[in-house]
């Protein structure tokens, strides 16, 4: 007998888990209106979606057993996880910082950090980006379109 595709089995199981999670969350997260028909109540569509997601998960598991198709594992090497993880953390940090510091100053600092992370080692290029990018975006949004950006304590 052919070996089942492990990746399909895992993905299918995760989908079933997510569908079940939606079903579990429905009673606490949706307050149905008394007297409303079941099929017009606020929980009708989410419940239907959860069931369909579970069915899709089951379909993926079946596909894992019967399909000849085999996808390789995704690239989750330590370097990839570190680089992506670091950039997510930096992005969250930037989001926390820019309303407090001000868009122009915070963006300048983060443009520099990201340029370095992307491999730029030219100090001149990084410095120009750090100054030109935030000022350019500020001019475009605030001056041209009069859409305010947070000024924070430094601007």
């Amino acid at each position: 007998m052919r070996q089942p595709a492990i990746r399909c089995l895992i993905e299918g199981a995760v989908l079933i888990g997510l569908g079940a999670l939606i079903l579990v969350l429905i009673p606490s997260q949706i307050h149905d209106i008394p007297g409303m028909e079941t099929n017009t109540s606020p929980s009708f569509l989410p419940a239907l979606l959860a069931v369909l997601i579970i069915l899709m998960g089951a379909g993926l598991i079946l596909q894992g057993f019967f399909s000849s198709r085999r996808d390789g594992p995704p690239d989750l090497s330590r370097v990839v996880v570190f680089r992506v993880g670091l950039s997510v953390v930096l992005l969250i940090l930037y989001t926390v910082v820019f309303p407090r510091l001000g868009f122009v100053v915070a963006s300048g600092v983060f443009v520099g950090i990201y340029a370095y992370l992307f491999g730029s080692r030219s100090i001149l290029k990084i410095a120009i980006s750090m100054v030109a990018v935030p000022i350019g975006i500020w001019l475009f949004f605030e001056i041209l379109f009069r859409i305010p950006l947070p000024h924070g304590i430094l601007y």
């Binding site: 989908l15 939606i22 969350l25 997260q29 949706i30 307050h31 149905d32 209106i33 028909e37 099929n39 017009t40 109540s41 606020p42 929980s43 009708f44 569509l45 989410p46 979606l49 959860a50 369909l52 997601i53 899709m56 379909g59 993926l60 996808d71 995704p74 690239d75 989750l76 990839v80 680089r83 992506v84 950039s87 997510v88 992005l91 969250i92 989001t95 820019f98 309303p99 868009f103 963006s107 983060f110 443009v111 990201y114 340029a115 992370l117 992307f118 491999g119 730029s120 080692r121 290029k125 980006s129 990018v133 935030p134 975006i137 949004f141 379109f145 859409i147 305010p148 950006l149 947070p150």
Partner: protein, 512 residues
Amino acid sequence: MFEHLLPAAQLFFTFQNLFVVAAGLFIGITIGAIPGLNVPMTVALLLPITFYMSPVAGISLLLGVYKGGTYGGSISAILINTPGAPAAAATCLEGYPMAKQGKAGKALRAAIYGSVIGEFISDVVLISIAAQIAMVALKFGPTEKFSLVVFALCTIGVVSSEHKLKGITAALFGIFFRTIGADPISGSSRFTLGIFDLIGGIPFLPHLIGLFAVSEFFVQIEKKISAGKQDVIAPVSKNPEDNRVTWKEFKANIVTIIRSTLIGIGVGALPGSGSAISAFVSYGAAKNTSKNPEEYGKGSLEGVFAAETGNNAVTGGALIPLLTLGIPGDAITAIMLGVFLVHGLIPGPDLFVKSGDIIYAVFIGLIVANILHFFIASLGLRLFIKLLSVSRAVLFPIVIIICVAGSYTVNSNIFDVYVMIFFGVLGYIMKKFNFPVAPLMMGYILGGLLETSLIQTLILSDGSVLPVFTRPISLVFVVLTVFFILWSLFIQKKALARRRRREEQRRRNLPS
């Protein structure tokens, strides 16, 4: 109609009108290409200016922005996999892989040709048979709308990935994300997890920017640049064939262009739908009828033609219900309604009789805008391609800062930036595990219409879903949905068999 043409031409052909159309196109293309700035917002910003213009100039300015903006979204979609507008999301699927192969020039030119031809035909249809189309569109009740949405979602779910189940699952999650917030019927809150900002639902633009642009940012940051390695966004081919659409290629895509135009006009004429639906339905139809479906997802020129023609053909179609019935087809035409009303033009059947010369002057403006669109977009092409030569280390930090600014400025709310990051991470994980992101976005866009039309259908039929199968227009969409799914499975099976045969042949030809 003909009695209005001469006075209309005299009314339109002034320096001021020609200038405002060109200015509108330029503004539209620029705004469309920048994620975070959208066409409805720009039209709303320009609206007060139009009050001081003549009705023809004011309407022409906004139509220029509308047309330019619908096309402009494709520029960033092709070059950096970031749709400037939701309508350009389908263009990403083929345009970006083409840019990665050094064929950005070809993809951008295809986008210009598709957009201009789609607009032109749809404008001609608007001018000649607007009223008849509007009457058919009026027959669309909730049941028909529900079937249309199911058809659109199944199409995109099935065609956007080789993994059909994953595509449909992504669409289901998209609908689920739309259910977060207040229920459209009862107003009861759903899945808000006690977060006040979620009561109004997940904001659209941060969701879109996160799913496409931020997830791509994470994909790009995976790659470490070695010292001395050229790290441009994508190579630009020196071969002139890769930077233009040959006559042979254009001829091979004429059927796709015409089919996508008809889809665009039809979808545009339906109030409440929009160019994103049209682009995806056109893309799905092109893939399912393609002679080379295996090229899709890897940079298919046909796919770019289909998506771009489909989304721009909506511009003429969306004006049909606005002008003939006074019902706006989408958000932009809804804002435009204001210009008509301010100038004392009441959209409806009487409009053509009472203000025929003004309306036909606007129609002439539409045709002139198409010609100008072609030249302005072609002139900007070289400049856009230059963007690819910029270092990744310079461009992607700029892109992420624009994404943050774009998400923040929608509601001046920092919560929207967190939503963008969440969907960026989700999009990245989906890409890692071969779940297509486009159906998720489509599910989100269409989820609201799907839910309201489903519940209205159920209320009207005492809880029965039978009308979906008994009403003729609805039945047509149901049959088309089943046909699309079966047909795409058949096509995929054929492509798989062809690939296996080729591999076997290659193995046989290898010296043992």
